[in-house]
């Protein structure tokens, strides 16, 4: 007999200018893995925050085991048996695993007892964890384990997981799924948030799909096709980018044995990174976040100089060139962080063209800015890349993530780079915009540019890149043809599997 654990009735929540949740109702049953599916901005996070007591709904109510449930704070929610693993971890890197876990507890036992408990719980769920280890030394997958164990120690009735696999290698995902299925068999319900459809079809019993703050449908993912799920999530059909297979041209960028010490304390230094970028080809670099991606980008864009090794562009040694000098000879780049790095949030789109296009578009003559030309260029980007904004006068910060990303990528592509470096091109971008950005990258490569795409989205890399390599601990794996790789090989290249072995569950 199916028992309802949590009933969600007509939840609505409005933020200034945005309806985050509009009259959402569904139930989570005891012992089921319930998926909450939707694009960025569909209202998943808001709903989860309401369940976890971080946000109060404007209207609607929750029933937990048939009793009205209105958590005012996360600790009230925890007392009622709800635990949550956030996408962004809240851990102190300088403290040990046990210390981190005890900090999150209301009445922590002493460290020795806690350590024993952590060991036994983590092993029984197939997620072995050494309580004495410093969190800073753990991989991202290991840190996620700390968060999960922290939740499991409370014996939750409902475990909420926000995009847990976005930071994991395929092997780590398998381990996690085994743990979740064991939890389900013990009667724990899991609310699983994701936009990865295959994952949800594999793991979840029920899926509720949100779009623009409204519930679209609740269905059984196993019996629904991926295509159908995607269409429900996005609200329209999406054209997959087309890829032509052109022969590789000559080497444009030659990166030779780069070593670079990271500037941040818990960053990852690059060691002996070597690769070539060829005309008309896309090299995809995967890897779990924090394995040197940001450092690699900074070294290639010219924001940071490597201590060893050399970078050559078309035979010119550009190792000590700053970003502008590199742009002048055709190497352009687009960083991961849109606001504050690729663009200045409080400046208009016109002003934002000056950040990278100053030289190639002749926007400045003898030190004076040609505002007419800047405006024309901004409007060209807006038009060609379908950036939805009232006008070029609007600030970068007023655009949605997807539209700003289209602007940032468009700003670079319209300058006709011969080498283009991009970090996380579709991070936090809705599916339609992501697909158009990927298409733009493919078109750029067909026109003869050499492209490097750094991304944590494996599906994206498999879709657009000709070659694939993974960063692990600041070192680059072998470079393989994407077409020849299996998911398992990719996982091994990402290297996360070596310190996270599967235990018998």
């Amino acid at each position: 007999m199916i028992k309802k654990l949590l009933e969600i009735n007509g939840i609505s929540k409005t933020y200034p200018g945005v309806i985050a949740n509009s009259d959402i109702s569904f139930n989570i049953n005891t012992g089921e893995v319930h998926a909450l599916l939707g694009e960025n901005g569909a209202g998943k996070s808001t709903l989860v925050k309401i369940i976890y007591g971080l946000v109060k709904p404007d209207s609607g109510n929750l029933l937990l085991n048939g009793v009205p449930f209105r958590p005012g704070t996360p600790s009230e929610a925890r007392k009622a048996g709800i635990a949550m693993v956030f996408q962004h971890f809240s851990l102190f890197e300088a403290l040990s695993v046990a210390e981190n876990i005890s900090l999150g507890m209301d009445n922590p036992p002493n460290q020795r007892d806690l350590g024993k408990k952590i060991k036994s719980v983590s092993e029984s769920y197939g997620l072995p964890l050494d309580p004495a280890k410093t969190v800073g030394e753990l991989s991202v997958g290991g840190r996620q384990r700390v968060e999960i164990i922290r939740c499991l120690l409370q014996n939750p009735k409902l475990l909420v997981m926000d995009e847990p696999t976005s930071v994991l290698t395929p092997q780590e995902v398998d381990i996690l799924f085994k743990t979740l299925l064991k939890l389900r068999s013990e009667g724990t319900s899991i609310l699983y948030i994701s936009h990865k459809l295959e994952e949800i079809r594999k793991l979840c019993d029920t899926a509720t799909i949100l779009r623009l703050g409204k519930k679209v449908d609740t269905c059984t993912p196993e019996k629904t096709s991926t295509k159908k799920l995607a269409e429900m999530m996005v609200g329209s059909t999406i054209k997959a980018p087309e890829k032509l297979n052109k022969p590789a041209g000559r080497v444009m960028l030659n990166v030779n044995n780069i070593c670079c010490v990271s500037k941040s304390q818990f960053g990852t230094s690059l060691t002996n990174v070597t690769f070539d970028l060829r005309q008309g080809k896309i090299l995809g670099i995967g890897g779990v976040a924090g394995n040197g991606q940001d450092e690699l980008f900074a070294v290639l864009s010219g924001e940071q100089f490597s201590q060893h090794g050399s970078i050559g562009l078309n035979g010119i040694n550009i190792t000590k060139f700053n970003p502008n000098q590199r742009r002048k000879i055709g190497l352009l780049s687009a960083p991961e962080e849109r606001l504050g790095h690729a663009a200045a949030p409080n400046m208009s789109l016109i002003e934002n063209t000056l950040i990278t296009a100053e030289n190639s578009q002749n926007l400045v003559s003898r030190g004076f800015i040609d505002w007419k030309k800047s405006k024309a260029f901004a409007e060209k980007v807006i038009k060609k890349f379908d950036v939805r904004t009232p006008g070029s006068q609007n600030t970068a910060g007023s655009l949605s993530g997807g539209n700003l990303q289209k602007f940032v990528i468009g700003r670079e592509i319209l300058q006709n780079p011969s080498v283009f470096i991009v970090n996380q091109p579709t991070w936090g971008v809705d599916a339609a915009a992501a697909s158009s950005i990927r298409q733009a990258l493919l078109t750029l490569s067909e026109n003869g540019a050499a492209i490097l795409v750094i991304s944590q989205d494996l599906d994206e890399l498999l879709e657009i890149s000709d070659q694939f390599a993974a960063l692990n601990g600041g070192a680059l794996s072998r470079i393989e043809k994407t077409a020849d790789l299996s998911m398992e090989q990719i996982g091994l290249m990402m290297g996360g599997a070596k310190d996270l072995e599967v235990h018998n569950v």
């Binding site: 200034p16 200018g17 109060k56 864009s301 010219g302 924001e303 700053n322 970003p323 502008n324 000098q325 742009r327 960083p335 962080e337 606001l339 504050g340 790095h341 690729a342 663009a343 200045a344 949030p345 409080n346 400046m347 002003e351 000056l354 950040i355 990278t356 100053e358 400045v364 030190g367 004076f368 800015i369 505002w371 609007n394 600030t395 910060g397 007023s398």
Partner: protein, 359 residues
């Protein structure tokens, strides 16, 4: 209950409106303050803001004073605004002002009593150089050793004051001064005197320089790539690095230009209204200019207007001391309130205030 709601974009309307609101609230609070001191608030406000300009018995003296006081304030504040826009906080303009005055006066005294048309231009260059070098100290320390420019520039004010005390009793002391501390009076040295360009207007060379600086800084900030880079660095440091702006050059530019302009202000003051280097030569213009810069929204035209307003509070404050016997500190209080209320009303630019019983 009041509720603050973040605006999606800064309200342009409120950015320009809030200084006026701040002035109004300052007048009201000042009025209450004066009332508690037993004065008629309306009379006190009138004496401070109206009489210096329009009262027949005071205006002939006060009106020229308006430009005399506003000139250095505007000159210094324009320089500061470059740094403030870039997130480089020069709090030590007072020290750069003193060094500019010492450098300028030293050049004049070195040539005394020779008369030449070249002396005054040389003094201008020396004044700017003095302030520039003093501003360069925190700039290089920040660029090379990542020290905090707020602390270093502020501490250098006290160093500058000690140098001032030393030279006015030593190196630059007037040999014919009967042993009193202080230099010769440059007003009595024709080649070095900063005279009024238009008689009885208060318009001396320094005021003219201030006005020219306003125009130049407007052009740099709105039309020149250097001005854009400064604003980009202040708003999004990572983006400015990505754009290829050299952070060291930027820090040196901001502190250097604000130092040079403060030094110029000091030079024009010592060769004009003040006339001589004395121990109490500096009167806090370097600090008050910070208020002027913010009240003027770091915008050249705004700084021009707020410089005049703050100058008015100086003159009006003196008048109020004379007429009502108000304590001298009350005018500093007034200026402080102005900055306080300005920062408070800035809230409206970023937030909407909603009144309602929404829990």
């Amino acid at each position: 209950m009041f509720k603050l709601e973040k605006r999606p974009e800064q309200s342009q309307k409120w950015i320009y409106l809030s200084p006026f609101l701040a002035v109004l609230i300052t007048m009201i609070s000042g009025g209450i303050l004066f009332a508690t001191l037993g004065e008629n608030p309306f009379e006190a406000i009138r004496i401070i803001f109206w009489d210096p300009l329009f009262d027949p018995s005071f205006a002939s003296y006060s009106r020229p004073q308006l430009l005399v006081k506003a000139g250095p304030l505007i000159l210094i504040a324009i320089g500061l605004s470059f740094g403030f826009k870039a997130g480089v906080w020069n709090i030590g303009a007072e020290g750069q002002y003193i060094l500019g005055a010492i450098f300028g006066a030293s050049v004049a005294l070195a040539f005394y009593p020779m008369e030449s048309k070249l002396i005054f231009p040389l003094m201008i260059i020396a004044g700017a150089l003095g302030g520039f070098l003093w501003g360069l100290i925190p700039a290089l320390l920040k660029a090379k050793l990542n020290t905090n420019e707020i602390l270093v520039s502020l501490m250098l004010v006290y160093v500058a004051e000690s140098i001032l005390a030393s030279v006015s009793q030593g190196l630059l002391k007037n040999p014919d001064g009967y042993g009193f501390p202080g230099s010769r009076n440059l007003q009595n040295y024709a080649s070095a005197a900063n005279v009024e360009i238009i008689a009885n207007s208060g318009m001396h060379w320094g005021v003219l320089f201030a006005f020219i600086t306003v125009i130049f800084s407007y052009i740099i900030l709105t039309k020149h790539i250097q001005g854009f880079n400064i604003q980009l660095t202040g708003q999004a440091p990572r983006a400015s690095k990505f754009a290829g702006v050299n952070p060291t050059a930027n820090i040196v530019f901001c502190l250097g230009i604000s130092g040079a302009l403060a030094g110029l202000a000091g030079m024009f003051e010592v060769s004009g209204p003040s006339g001589q280097i004395t121990i109490e030569f500096n009167s806090g213009y370097g600090f008050t200019a910070i208020i002027v810069a913010f009240l003027g929204r770091l915008h050249p035209i705004g700084i021009f207007l707020s410089g005049l307003l703050i100058a008015l509070t100086y003159i009006g404050g003196e008048l109020a001391q004379l007429m009502l016997g108000l304590p001298g500190a009350s005018i500093q209080l007034f200026q402080g309130m102005l900055l306080f209320f300005l920062l408070a009303t800035d809230l409206f630019a970023n937030y909407k205030v909603k009144i309602g019983a929404n829990k």
